[in-house]
């Protein structure tokens, strides 16, 4: 029982990071019908921006405990802002010129952008793994044989908060509604006066900022960064988006949490060697039995 609870807690924490990244895949797919393979790299870049921001703000590994919560928050915000700009640049430079082109062209471009960013990161940050600064000092709490750290609680809380903020934004604001309109029918949204290019750009910005938030949370938990880290995590987050129903925001959140929990249950009850494999098993099962995902609907014909 305590193994179960322990893995559940850890799974929810990892899963909420997947969920944050999955949101970016799903939002971009929802508006453009494009799988943004460079999204995992935006996550990675967000991580590095956080690392540099921490040092810039005076982080000192020997006196980590003196790094203020205010500064830690600033690290998060700077990483989100930096990644938002990167995401918007990717859209502007790589995808927008291909709007209206056959679907294969932006897909191949996305893979190209992903490789390009990985290589730029190797050049800029070096291929050696770096340690993410401990901008939050870890405290352990014990409950009925289950260890919870303040960092895991923080990860879960920040993720949930960001997801709720996104839900509110998409449901209640004009821009959010414009996003939904674009995702259902782009020409019709334009006819309503929606500046589609601007809204699409904003979609990339928000998705990227959320991925960067995921990056910082990941760094807090795993502490190791390297330029290729976006590969596997990006893939898992993408699978989370597919599991929830790609294009569906709540689906991405649920998909991320489910995959995180499934991974840690596998690690806890079978073997940590199968931890990564379970995600792909889930992908195969969902593609076989419910290709539209848990919350997805079969997409209607556009006019």
């Amino acid at each position: 029982m305590s193994t179960f609870l322990q893995q559940l807690v850890n799974g929810l924490s990892v899963g909420s990071i997947y969920a944050l990244i999955a949101l970016g895949y799903t939002m971009v797919y929802g508006t453009l019908g494009l799988i943004n393979f460079a999204h995992g790299e935006v996550f990675m870049i967000g991580c590095y921006i956080g690392l540099y921001a921490a040092f810039w703000l005076g982080y000192d590994a020997l006196a980590a405990a003196s790094f203020s919560p205010m500064s830690a928050t600033l690290v998060l915000l700077l990483a989100m802002a930096g990644a938002a700009i990167v995401g918007m640049l990717i859209e502007r430079l790589a995808y927008r010129p291909l709007r209206g082109a056959p679907r294969l062209a932006p897909l191949i471009t996305a893979i190209g952008v992903s490789l390009l960013l990985q290589n730029i990161a190797v050049l800029a940050f070096s291929a050696n793994p770096r340690k993410f600064p401990s901008i939050i000092t870890e405290h352990r709490l014990e409950f009925a044989g289950v260890t919870i750290t303040n960092i895991k609680i923080f990860i879960f809380a920040v993720s949930i908060l960001l997801m709720l903020a996104l839900e509110f934004f998409v449901k209640k604001t004009w821009t959010g509604r414009a996003m939904r309109a674009i995702s259902f029918n782009l020409p019709a949204a334009k006819l309503m006066g929606v500046p589609a290019d601007r809204v699409i750009s904003l979609t990339f910005a928000i998705g990227s900022a959320l991925a960067a938030a995921g990056g910082i949370l990941f760094g807090l938990d795993q502490t190791k960064l390297e330029p290729l880290m976006g590969n596997m995590i990006g893939l898992k987050a993408f699978i989370a988006a597919v599991l929830g129903g790609i294009g569906n925001i709540r689906g991405a959140a649920i998909g991320g949490l489910l995959i995180g929990v499934a991974e840690l249950m596998t690690a806890g009850y079978i073997s940590s060697g199968y931890r990564d494999a379970i995600t792909f098993v889930i992908l195969i099962v969902i593609l076989l039995f419910r290709p539209q995902g848990l919350l997805g609907v079969v997409r209607q014909e556009k006019v």
Binding site: W174, R177, A178, R180, A181, S183, F184, N185, P187, A188, A189, K190, L191, M192, G193, V194, P195, A196, D197, Q300, V303
Partner: protein, 243 residues
Amino acid sequence: MTDALRVTDLKVNYGGIQAVKGISLTVGRGEIVALIGANGAGKTSTLKAIVRLIASQGQIDFFGATAGGRATHQIAALGVSLVPEGRAIFGNMSVRENLEMGAFLHRDALERKHHMERVFALFPRLAERLKQDGNTLSGGEQQMLAIGRAMMSQPKLLLLDEPSLGLAPKLVGEIFAAIRVIAADGLSILLVEQNTRLALKTAGRAYVLVTGEVALSGNAEDLRDDPRIQSAYLGGDTTRSNG
């Protein structure tokens, strides 16, 4: 006074095929003008080109302002609203949200409420289905919603693409009654229809499009009596022709 819409030498190409071959037409202020023609004549292409959903050549002016260099959403801001063929309702949104999307450029809540009341007066059925999702509506209700949504943008020029398409005669009657009410408020309307009889009854003037060219134009009344129209589009005495 400048026309609500002036189209000069409009051409639309799809790959190597020219679907619209240099047509010119005008819609005066407060006028209902019909654009009729058989399936594939180029009517929808013309409307899409006018609001710049597709690329075209030629000159387009709204109320004396050129459309050149403007994107679709900027044309909407000029007070031009297209009710597209097939309605293009946001199926993932409620009827209310669809109507609110129509007011995307008019955010004042009070004003929006006022315009929504007017839409309900036009189509009382929409008021009964406010919470329902767009894709659960019947075809006729979707057409009402599409027109209502366009009216929420407070247009000065309304472009309607086959509002009667696929609807039962009774519903067609309701929709066209609403169009006449809207027109009586002084709105300028370009009405695309395959239902020639109905179009010529509703409009003051009409253009007949044949394979991308204006073959005939004039007063709707005159066209109704024109033998060429009678044989080609009105099919003697049958009520409906598909061209």
